[in-house]
């Protein structure tokens, strides 16, 4: 008695039926004349969304294939030109082309930014377009469907029964309710319309997912606009260093330990840090590779380490003008020497402290020695004085007394403030929840129409299936149950 048609795929439905199923398809077929509307339709079109996502994927792919210039090189034309020469052997004649197209910094290129902006607009437009309709669909769904719908719905069945319409309705409702569907009944003269849905809030997951993406992008933007980042804050053990960037913070390293496995590979790096805010101690914490120190939205990470020279400098009157560890944080290009810097603003001088790289045996600068080179601040060229000094023996260089007190380590920190990160994390959480919501709770909708017939009643059931493919077998079972209850025979 049942006529359970094989599912027909959506293209088979005519335009008119699409309308009756209050379908939310972004793929519009008519293009209006009004340019504003055209633009709107451009942004809410799924094809636009698809093109933008694929465009972004292509740029990302380029970004993984081509060597990318360090973001720090941006704005430094000279350094960038030097860098470009280092990749020229690799890309040959293409180097100029790639450079002109911005492909060596794809993720800050005009293409990338353009697509991200369009994508954001498209995501917002889609959400604005869909959310009210989803709301309406969840709260005031359309209950009555026409003959055409039941004749063409992708999932459909018709059952003839000897039962009266009231009994038929009760059985249909029971079958839907057993599957946790909500049902709404609407009597329209002799015809009974029934609407049933399940997980009607599920589709809002798409809106959450789309909006959370814009939140993530906004967070990234806020981070770049109002955050800061210092990739190399070297703090000699026993010294305190200003953090800068208007934080009013300074950080002191009490100790630094590096540990190794027996095979020589590193096992742990740890710094005991003390953080001061406007000179007052606020936090003391051991910082490791995976355990940063967080103070508000400023975070300190363990990043690198090296040797430091504790130096004192006294002026001719004997007043000590410098007394601190100097991190030897730069290496010479041959990697034989490590270099640190002392700035002496009162004297208008800059001194470089040069030591042999640990493990290197250098004939000039021996262990326990440092070479001091003094320059006039701001002037390049020859040093005004250069001397090698030994630990604990003061030496008069450029009329100042320099003492190399002893060698210590410094710990290298990354300091970053990212006021946008919180939005990124909220967005990421919402993104995962939204996507899970869509897929774990796929919204399902079905309609039924019950009509009195001379020898009982006829029941038509129809449903649309768009993504949620498992609805198809479930629908079949539902129809079987109704059939069984009303006719006492289960169809094959």
């Amino acid at each position: 008695m049942t006529r359970m048609t094989q599912p027909v795929r959506t293209p088979a439905i005519t335009r008119a039926d699409r309308k009756t199923t209050d379908d939310l398809d972004g793929g519009l077929t008519v293009s209006p004349a009004d340019p504003g509307k055209r633009l709107w339709h451009f942004f809410i079109s799924m094809r636009t969304g698809l093109a933008l996502m694929l465009g972004l994927a292509v740029l990302g792919f380029i970004g993984t294939l081509l060597v990318q210039a360090d973001p720090g090189l941006q704005g430094d034309r000279q350094a960038y030109a030097v860098w470009l020469e280092t990749v020229r052997p690799k890309y040959g004649g293409w180097t100029g082309v790639f450079d002109a197209l911005g492909l060596f910094s794809v993720f800050s290129s005009i293409w990338f930014r353009g697509i991200v902006v369009l994508l954001t607009m498209s995501l917002l437009a889609c959400s604005v377009n869909r959310a009210p309709r989803l709301w309406k669909r969840a709260v005031h769904p359309r209950t009555n469907m026409s003959e055409t719908f039941f004749a063409h719905a992708p999932l459909r069945a018709s059952i003839a029964t000897a039962a009266d319409p009231g009994t038929a309705l009760a059985e249909v409702q029971t079958a839907f309710r057993a599957r946790h569907f909500r049902t709404i009944v609407n009597h329209d003269g002799d015809t009974i319309h029934l609407y049933a849905d399940r997980f009607r809030w599920g589709p809002f997951g798409t809106v959450i997912a789309h909006l959370s993406l814009t939140l993530i992008l906004a967070g990234a933007l806020i981070g770049t606009a109002w955050g800061f980042r210092n990739n190399s804050l070297a703090v000699p053990v026993g010294s305190r260093v200003e953090v800068g960037y208007g934080t009013g913070m300074s950080i002191e390293a009490k100790s630094f330990t590096d540990s190794y496995y027996t095979n020589g590979s590193p096992s742990d790096f740890a710094s005991d840090l003390v953080l001061y805010m406007d000179g007052v101690q606020v936090i003391a914490q051991t910082v490791r590779v995976n355990e940063p120190l967080r103070a508000g939205d400023v975070t300190f990470y363990q990043s690198f380490y090296g040797a430091a020279a504790v130096m004192t400098v006294a002026d001719p009157t004997g007043r000590v003008v410098f007394d601190r560890g100097v991190p030897l944080e730069w290496a010479t290009s041959d990697d034989k020497y490590r270099v640190g810097q002392i700035i002496l603003p009162d004297a208008g001088l800059t001194a470089y402290v040069v030591g042999a790289t640990s493990g290197e045996v250098d004939p000039r600068i021996k262990p326990g020695q440092m070479q001091i080179e003094v320059y006039r601040s701001g002037l390049e060229g020859e040093p005004i004085a250069t001397e090698i000094i030994s630990q604990g023996q003061p030496a008069n260089i450029a009329e100042l007394d320099f003492t190399f007190v002893r060698e210590r380590q410094f710990t290298g920190l990354i300091v970053a403030r990212d006021p946008g990160a919180v939005f990124v994390w909220i967005g990421a959480g919402l993104l995962v929840s939204g996507i899970s919501l869509v897929f774990l709770f796929p919204g399902r909708r079905a309609w039924a129409r019950i009509q009195r017939r001379p020898n009982g009643s006829s029941i038509q059931v129809g449903a649309i299936v768009r993504h949620d493919v498992t609805f198809r077998p479930d629908f079949q079972h539902l129809v079987d149950d109704i059939e069984l209850a009303l006719t006492g025979s289960s169809p094959t």
Binding site: L50, T64, S267, N290, V432, I435, F439
Partner: protein, 293 residues
């Protein structure tokens, strides 16, 4: 324990290899049966039935062997975890075995659910290739460098990725069958409608897991490298993968993109998965923990 792990591994490789052999045999038998049907005409019904049943029996043995393979590989990973005292996800060997495991788990799940061992014709060779590749790379248990010591986060990050990659390999298998088979599944293959469904179901599981993988990766990057996103090539490659599967989800509801074109997106997507996975070997970057460089 380490030895046990190695023995289970070998047993797993053999089981998967035999499973694959059974499937190939089943397909050949089915085709022969069909040819016989053509030759003998309508009167050859008996022969066909025998031929068909023989083929499906062989396929059933194949599926059993795939289960067995799963058990062995799981045991191998378990023994290794006990031997090393940490999550089994810290070098290229471990990633590779885990990837193969993910494919076999998902294959078993989908074959139980849809009864389409033809998927195994594509999915199992990938798993087998990964296992054989794992045999060629160093498998010693080395201590972890500082950045990898955040064990829980690392383990979850990789485990989640493995689920995503496993399901994507199933959608890839279905897409390949879709592109090579006919409308109703020529050559004893499942029909397109069903393959579409399988692909989509696989992506529906994989996509949230891939999203979670990237988010967890960002959390970890924030903790270990001071930055949730740094356009590291591996990160970027996983984003590209994510975008392709995202495109697929949208393409599926656009007229003109369903079916064939969507299947191509799944093929490209799986290409991106492999690129992300093996990317370590050629693009270095912060993720260069493979232990091979």
């Amino acid at each position: 324990m380490f030895k046990m792990s190695q023995y289970s591994f070998i047993a797993g490789v053999i089981s998967i290899g035999l499973a694959l052999g059974c499937y190939v045999l089943a397909i050949v038998a089915a085709r022969l049966a069909r040819r016989r049907m053509v030759m003998t005409g309508a009167g050859g019904g008996g022969t066909i039935a025998v031929g068909r049943r023989g083929a499906s029996n062989v396929a059933a043995y194949g599926t059993l062997l795939a289960y067995l393979g799963l058990v062995f590989i799981s045991a191998s990973i378990l023994f290794r975890t006990i031997a090393s005292g940490r999550g089994p996800f810290a070098n290229m060997y471990e990633f590779t075995v885990a990837f193969a495991w993910g494919i076999v788990v998902m294959y078993v799940y989908f074959v139980r659910r849809y009864r389409q061992p033809a998927l195994g014709l594509i999915a199992l060779p990938i798993a087998l290739a990964l296992l054989l590749y794992a045999m060629t790379i160093p498998s010693a248990i080395d201590p972890l460098g500082p950045a990898l010591q955040n064990n829980l986060l690392l383990s979850i990050h990789v485990a989640v990725a493995i689920v995503a990659y496993g399901t994507f390999s199933i959608s890839f298998a279905a897409a390949i069958l879709h592109l090579t088979g006919g409308e109703t599944g020529r050559r004893g293959l499942p029909g397109r409608e069903l393959l579409d469904e399988i692909s989509y179901k696989a992506v529906v599981i994989g996509f949230p897991f891939l999203t979670l993988t990237i988010v967890l990766g960002a959390v970890w990057a924030e903790v270990a490298w001071a930055r949730y996103w740094s356009w590291d090539p591996k990160e970027t490659a996983s984003l590209v993968t994510w975008l392709i599967y995202g495109s697929y989800l949208h393409a599926r509801v656009i007229r003109g993109w369903r079916g064939q074109r969507a299947a191509w997106l799944l093929v490209v997507g799986f290409g991106a998965v492999l690129f992300t996975y093996f990317g370590n070997l050629f693009f270095g970057g912060l993720h260069s923990y493979s232990g091979l460089s």
